[in-house]
Amino acid sequence: MSLGPEATFLVDLLAIYSIYLIINTSLNLEFGYAGIPNFGKVLAVGVGAFVAAAVPGRVLAGMAGIGGDYIGDNIAIMAQVNAWLVDNTGAGFAVFFATLAVAAAVGAAVGLATAYPAIRLRGDYLAITLLAFGEGMRVIGINYAEIAGGTLGVQLPDPLAWLPQDLRFPAATVGLVIMAAAAVIYGDRLVRSPLGRLLRAVRDNELAAASVGKDVMRARTKTIMVAAAMAAVAGALYAFYVGGAISFAYDRLNWTFWPFMMVLIGGLANSRGVLVGTLLFVLVRKLITFYKDSLQGIVPFDVVWLDYLLLGAVLIAVLLYRPQGLLPEGPTPTIRAPGEAAPAPLSARLAAIARRLAGG
């Protein structure tokens, strides 16, 4: 049995969608609800991937009794580890989930470190500082080979090595979809909690929130830590999904700029906006890659740059003409007052937007 190109396309699309959903939910918490422009989103994602690159491979090689230089003989060691994992499924899963927990903890620690400037600096200085932090992470990852193999990268153990080749990616995707759903539901619960209301109050008027005795700094620190932990888990999941990690891949464009773009297109500060914005973005990019060969005849340059031109222009257009995004932030959901009408379902609202866009 082998998957056709359409099925492979769908599986990969769903996997990338799920990973970006987790990252975008965390970015939405920071930027949409708390108003913190985290231009160093790649930092937490990359740290999560570094944990996945450095820890589980060494642990499993130790458990299986495979010796050797983990970075130098990485490919040989990982081939043995994956062969060992076929018969030791339980150990594979245990190490996998433990890695995610470690990634979350390290991510939260990184969040605490970024919270130090984030609660002290103004928006623009903060954005520049966080951006520089993200670049610093990459420089260390590229040059300090013990973490993620430096310029060569490392391979990761595959907890799904026991599955037949054709089922490995679909199974991984199912797992990713479940985790993304959990992240989105968690994010949604969090912003409906008192913390979410406090964050919006702080974002809209910090002074007013502080004057009624709210601890603004604590709320922001907590948000950044939670968001960084989520992003780190997403980074680790991505490394496990593709089966390897290389520092070059954790760049500003893919893990800071694209998430901002998805969240802004969908609409800040609501989880439906994240769902829609992420889907649109991932779909457009995947379709461009999928139809690359046919597009190559139409555009007079390398199709890679079509992505950049198109998405850059779309984002500017959205910021200028629909700053609230496709789905604007709604009122805080509360218990309905007696006699109040139920809110329109999502499908009806999307239809209304489509009518408006069509000029009706």
Binding site: P37, I140, G312, L319, P323
Partner: protein, 337 residues
């Protein structure tokens, strides 16, 4: 903030010239590291001045600023390798194209956003989006140059196209002298011309300036033209010593921000000091550390701007221009006594 006087500028220019001289005729083969340090810090000064000019007016850090330098790099490539003329002819062309790009970012994207009262974060993101379009355009141009003219357009250098002064490349002298000239010209323009006074008034209080009849938007547009144009000039000179690539902007941007923040972000003289400090530290500092600790340090050079940003924000958040040097000196004097 105390007003800098012309002799401050003259002293800065003299210091730059002294460094250039120190790098020059000491022996038959001067240390290329010193040349690199002089050229790099001169260009960082120019880039920081440009970024500061745009930030002073609109208060948006322009994340597309470094790509204006990449535009200058490609102007120099086309002039020297396609037209086969002196790369120095690219300077006015680079100024014009990079300046026009920068003005269009202001006029087409930022001004409408400011009018719609978009938040500063949204304005910053719009400059990132604009940068993406510039990077794509530069890459398309690079591909085109390779295909049409069979000329290397990625990871190239134009070192061999530079003129020679004695044994030394001309850019080693042109860069610091050009910086000194530009700083003096900017100083005179800001202090002595009507437009300069209008500009300073607008920076201090845009609402009041528009009340007295200053065309605030034109002032902003001119500062963006100058800011982008100077970055283009820096790029055109840069390719004569360093490697040019469409991705140059991404490598430069932390250093440019570090230089501007060290300088206080709202002072042209601060930008001069910040650019010189960060540039020299990046090249000579890492070299010295490599001598002390081992050559592995060199790869971590990109962490230097990060360290400068962190140190400035913790110790003197308003940058060098915000430090009250006289009070500091008095305090040190008292402590010593």
């Amino acid at each position: 903030m105390r007003r800098p006087r012309p002799w401050h500028v003259a002293a800065g220019a003299a210091a730059a010239a002294a460094i250039a001289l120190a790098a020059s005729p000491a022996g038959p083969a001067p240390d290329p590291i010193l040349s690199a340090a002089v050229i790099y810090s001169s260009l960082l000064v120019l880039l920081a001045i440009g970024l500061t000019l745009t930030y002073m007016t609109t208060r948006v850090p322009n994340f597309a600023h470094a790509s204006s330098a990449a535009i200058g790099v490609y102007a120099a490539l086309v002039v020297s390798r396609v037209w086969e003329a002196s790369p120095y002819l690219a300077i006015p062309i680079a100024f014009a194209i990079a300046g026009a790009t920068s003005v269009s970012l202001y006029a087409l994207v930022l001004r409408p956003l400011i009018r719609k009262r978009a938040s500063q974060a949204i304005q910053m993101i719009s400059t990132l989006a604009f940068d993406l379009i510039l990077i794509a355009a530069l890459n398309i141009l690079a591909d085109h140059i390779v295909r049409e003219y069979h000329v290397t357009a990625r990871e190239f250098t134009l070192r061999s196209y530079d003129a020679q002064v004695g044994d030394l490349p001309a850019v080693l002298f042109v860069a610091p002298v050009a910086i000194a000239g530009i700083v003096i010209a900017l100083h005179l323009a800001l202090k002595r011309t009507r437009f300069g006074i209008a500009m300073r008034a607008t920076i201090e209080n845009p609402d009041l300036s528009s009340v007295v009849g200053i065309n605030v938007q034109r002032v902003y547009a001119v500062s963006w033209l100058l800011g982008g144009g100077l970055a283009g000039v820096a790029g055109a000179l840069m390719s004569l010593w360093f490697q040019g690539d469409p991705g140059l902007g991404a490598l430069l941007i932390p250093s440019i921000f570090a230089a501007s923040i060290v300088g206080g972000f709202t002072s042209i003289y601060g930008a001069v000091a910040g650019g010189a400090l960060v540039g020299l530290a990046e090249i000579l500092g890492t070299r010295w550390l490599a001598g002390e600790l081992g050559s592995w340090v060199i790869a971590y050079r990109p962490l230097v701007p990060l360290a400068f940003i962190a140190a400035t924000l913790m110790l003197a958040p308003r940058g060098l221009a915000g430090v009250d040097w006289r009070a500091l000196g008095r305090r040190l004097h008292v402590a010593r006594a």
